[in-house]
C-alpha cells in the first residue's frame, strides 16, 4: 500500500493532511523489530490491496438500514458508511444537550506514530460531539462502522467531550455488513470532565477478513469514572491501543477485555495508564480464550508519576488455551515513581481444570458442552462489565454461539 500513499500525496488538498501523510511516510511502516510491534505482523495488512477511501461512495440505503435495525440494541445510533457519517441513518443530532461540531477535523498533530499520522492524513469523517454538563443519556449510544465497497481502507477520527456530571454509555460496533474484507484505522479521543461517568464498549466482530487498528486516548478529570470494555470475537488482525491520562484526583479508570478467538485470528491489546495525580484507582481485567491457531497479545503498562501518591492500580491478564496451537504473549509493565501506592499485576495462562470438567460430566453434561460452559463462565466475568442489558445479552448470545452452547 506504500505505493498508493505516494500516489495520494499530490492529490491531497489540505496542507495538514499532506503534512501528516508525509510524516507517516517518514516514520515508516511498523516492523516487528520495533518492540511495540514485536508480536503483530502489520505487513499482513499492509501487503494487501486495500483502497484508501477519500470521498463518499454510494450504497443501498434500505439494505443498510435494515441491517442496522437488526443489529442495534439501542435507539440512539451514529452510523458511518464507507467512512462517512450518515445523518439520515443516525438520530442523535437533535438531542438538545448533545452538540455536533464541525464535520471535518484537520488539526495537525505531530506524533511519531505511523497509524496516527495516517489517520490524520486520510480520515474522512468522525464523530465530533460534545455532551453537556449534567446530561444523562439513558439509552446506549451505538456507533456503527459499515462499508459497502470492496476492500476499503477506512480512517475515522472521533473526538468526544463529556461534560461535568454527565452519564453516557457508548458501544462501537465493528461488524461486517457483507463479509467483505476491510481495514479500519480508527482514532478516538475522549475527554471526560469532572464527576462524569462513562462506559465505552467496543464490539469487534467483522469476520476474519476484517482488520482493525484502533487508538483510543482518554483524559479524565477529577472524580470521573471511565470504563472501556473491548470484545474481540473475530478479525484477521485487531490491534487496540488504549491510553488513559488520569489528570484529576479521585477518579476511577476501568479497562476490561475479552478476546474469544477459535480459528486463526490475531488480537493485540495494548493499554497504557498514566497515573499523573494522587488518589486514583485503575482496574484492568483482560481475558483471552484462544483456540485453533489464534494469537493473543497483551501489553499492559502502568506509569505512576511521583506526584501520584495513594494510587491503586490493579491489572490482570488471564488466558485459557483451548487448543495446542494457540498462542498468548503477555507483558505487564509497571513503572512506579511514587512511594505510597498499591499496584499489582498478574498474568496466567491455563487450560480447563479437569476437576471442574469431571464435576459437570458427573451430572450428565457431555464433555463438549461442559467445556463450553466452563469457558463461557470464564468469559462471563468480562461480559458482566457491560451495564446495558440488551447489549450484554447480545454479547452473551454471541459468546454462546461461538462456543456452541445453549443458554
Amino acid at each position: 500500500m506504500t505505493q498508493q500513499l505516494e500516489n495520494i500525496l499530490p492529490i491531497l488538498q489540505d496542507e495538514h493532511q499532506k503534512q501528516a501523510l508525509q510524516n507517516a511516510m517518514n516514520i515508516g511502516v511498523p516492523s516487528m523489530k520495533n518492540e511495540e510491534w514485536k508480536y503483530t505482523y502489520f505487513q499482513k495488512i499492509w501487503q494487501q490491496d486495500f483502497n484508501p477511501i477519500l470521498s463518499s461512495a454510494t450504497f443501498d440505503f434500505n439494505d443498510i438500514k435494515t441491517f442496522i435495525d437488526n443489529n442495534a440494541t439501542s435507539s440512539n445510533r451514529l452510523v458511518f458508511v464507507n467512512g462517512q457519517f450518515q445523518h439520515e441513518l443516525s438520530n442523535l443530532q437533535n438531542h438538545p444537550a448533545i452538540n455536533f461540531w464541525n464535520a471535518k477535523n484537520t488539526a495537525s498533530t505531530n506524533s511519531n506514530d505511523f497509524l496516527l499520522e495516517l489517520n490524520n492524513a486520510l480520515s474522512t469523517d468522525g464523530i465530533f460531539l460534545e455532551i453537556g454538563n449534567n446530561v444523562v443519556v439513558d439509552d446506549l449510544i451505538e456507533i456503527f462502522y459499515l462499508h459497502s465497497i470492496a476492500a476499503p481502507f477506512i480512517n475515522i477520527k472521533n473526538k468526544i467531550k463529556i461534560g461535568k456530571n454527565a452519564v453516557v454509555k457508548f458501544a462501537e460496533q465493528f461488524i461486517n455488513y457483507d463479509e467483505q474484507t476491510a481495514y479500519y484505522n480508527t482514532v478516538t479521543t475522549l475527554e471526560v470532565a469532572e464527576s462524569a461517568n462513562i462506559e465505552w464498549n467496543k464490539i469487534q466482530d467483522g469476520g476474519n477478513n476484517f482488520y482493525i487498528t484502533d487508538n483510543m486516548h482518554i483524559e479524565q478529570a477529577t472524580k470521573s469514572i471511565c470504563a472501556v470494555n473491548t470484545f474481540s470475537f473475530s478479525g484477521g488482525i485487531t490491534r487496540n491501543v488504549l491510553t488513559y491520562d488520569v489528570n484529576g484526583e479521585r477518579s476511577e479508570s476501568h479497562m476490561n477485555g475479552l478476546s474469544l478467538l477459535l480459528n486463526n485470528e490475531h488480537v493485540d491489546n495494548r493499554t497504557l495508564v498514566n497515573h499523573n495525580v494522587a488518589n486514583c484507582e485503575s482496574y484492568e481485567l483482560y481475558k483471552n480464550i484462544l483456540g485453533g491457531t489464534s494469537t493473543g497479545v497483551f501489553n499492559g503498562k502502568i506509569i505512576v508519576a511521583q506526584a501520584a501518591q495513594k494510587t491503586n492500580a490493579f491489572q490482570s491478564n488471564r488466558t485459557i488455551l483451548v487448543s495446542n496451537d494457540a498462542t498468548i504473549n503477555t507483558k505487564p509493565q509497571l513503572e512506579i515513581f511514587a512511594d505510597d501506592v498499591k499496584c499489582s499485576h498478574g498474568a496466567t495462562s491455563s487450560q480447563i481444570e479437569d476437576s471442574e470438567l469431571f464435576y459437570l460430566q458427573a451430572r450428565g453434561i457431555g464433555k463438549e458442552t461442559a467445556r463450553g460452559l466452563l469457558v463461557f463462565a470464564f468469559g462471563e466475568e468480562v461480559v458482566e462489565k457491560i451495564n446495558h442489558q440488551p447489549l450484554k445479552e447480545k454479547v452473551e448470545k454471541r459468546v454462546a454461539e461461538i462456543l456452541k452452547i445453549e443458554l
Binding site: E353, D354, S355, E356, F358, Y359, L360, Q361, A362, R363, G364, I365, G366, K367, T369, A370, L373, L374, F376, A377, F378, E380, E381, E406, L407
Partner: protein
C-alpha cells in the same frame, strides 16, 4: 441394579481396589465403612467415571450394562450419581444454568424434550426446600463461596433434581455440624424409594443414625472384608477396625 465383581483398580500402577465385589438391588441402602486410605473414595470415583483409573480386572454391571465402557456423563444420564466428598467450585456458572444443562442433557439422552422453563423453576424451588436452601442460591455460582455444609446440601439438592437410580454419597457427612447432617439425611430419606438405591460411604456411624442402612460393609485394603446389617456399624464404632488389620496382615 449394580453388580460389582472382583474389581481391581490401579492408579499410576498402584493397586487400590483389590478384588472388590458388591451387589446392590433397587430399594436398598448400603453403607461402606472403613479407615482412611482403603479405597472407599476410589470406588465412588471409579463408578462415576473419573479418568485416571485403570481397571485391571473384574466387572461392573449397571442394569446389565457394562458401566466401565461408558463415559462419565453417559453414566450420569443412565442414573448414576456421585455426591462428591469435595464438591468443586465452578465460578461463573450459576446453579440454575448448571442444573438446567444437567437436567436437559439427561432428558435429551433419554429422547425427551427440554424441560419447559417454568416447570424447571418450580421443580428447583421445591427441591430447594427439601435441603433448606436460601432463595439467592439459584443465581449464585456453583459452590463458589459456599460453606462446607452448603456444598454438601447442594450435592443432595442436585441429586433431588436429577433423581438418579443409584446414588453414591462419598463422605457426605464429613465436615457437617449436627443441623446440616440432619438436613442432608432428611433429604436422602425423602428420596428413598423402592426404585432407587444408595451407597453411603462414611467413616462414622453417626450418619447411619439418620440414614438407616439395609447393609453395612467393611472395606479394608481394597476390598470388602465383612458385611452385615446396621448393627455392624455400631460394632465398628465400638471396636474400631483393629480386627481387620490383623486379619489382612
Amino acid at each position: 441394579m449394580l453388580s460389582i465383581n472382583n474389581l481391581h483398580v490401579s492408579i499410576e500402577n498402584k493397586e487400590i481396589l483389590k478384588g472388590l465385589s458388591l451387589q446392590v438391588n433397587a430399594g436398598e441402602v448400603h453403607a461402606i465403612m472403613g479407615p482412611n486410605g482403603t479405597g472407599k473414595s476410589t470406588l465412588g470415583n471409579v463408578l462415576a467415571g473419573k479418568e485416571g483409573y485403570e481397571i485391571t480386572d473384574g466387572s461392573v454391571l449397571f442394569d446389565g450394562i457394562d458401566l466401565m465402557e461408558l463415559e462419565a456423563h453417559e453414566r450420569a444420564q443412565k442414573g448414576v450419581f456421585l455426591a462428591f466428598q469435595y464438591p468443586v467450585e465452578i465460578p461463573g456458572v450459576s446453579n440454575a444454568n448448571f442444573l438446567k444443562a444437567a437436567v436437559n442433557e439427561q432428558r435429551k439422552a433419554n429422547g425427551e424434550e427440554p424441560m419447559p422453563p417454568n416447570e424447571f423453576l418450580k421443580m428447583m424451588r421445591e427441591k430447594m426446600e427439601l435441603v433448606e436452601m436460601k432463595k439467592d442460591f439459584i443465581s449464585r455460582s456453583v459452590n463458589q463461596g459456599f460453606s462446607g455444609g452448603e456444598k454438601k446440601r447442594n450435592e443432595i439438592f442436585q441429586m433431588a433434581m436429577l433423581q438418579p437410580k443409584l446414588a453414591i454419597l462419598d463422605e457426605t457427612d464429613s465436615g457437617l455440624d449436627i443441623d446440616a447432617l440432619r438436613i442432608v439425611a432428611n433429604g436422602v430419606n425423602k428420596l428413598r424409594s423402592k426404585d432407587n438405591a444408595f451407597i453411603v460411604i462414611t467413616h462414622y456411624q453417626r450418619l447411619l443414625d439418620y440414614i438407616v442402612p439395609d447393609f453395612v460393609h467393611v472395606m479394608y485394603n481394597g476390598k470388602i472384608v465383612k458385611s452385615g446389617d446396621k448393627n455392624l456399624a455400631l460394632e465398628l464404632e465400638e471396636k474400631g477396625y483393629e480386627e481387620f488389620e490383623h486379619a489382612t496382615l
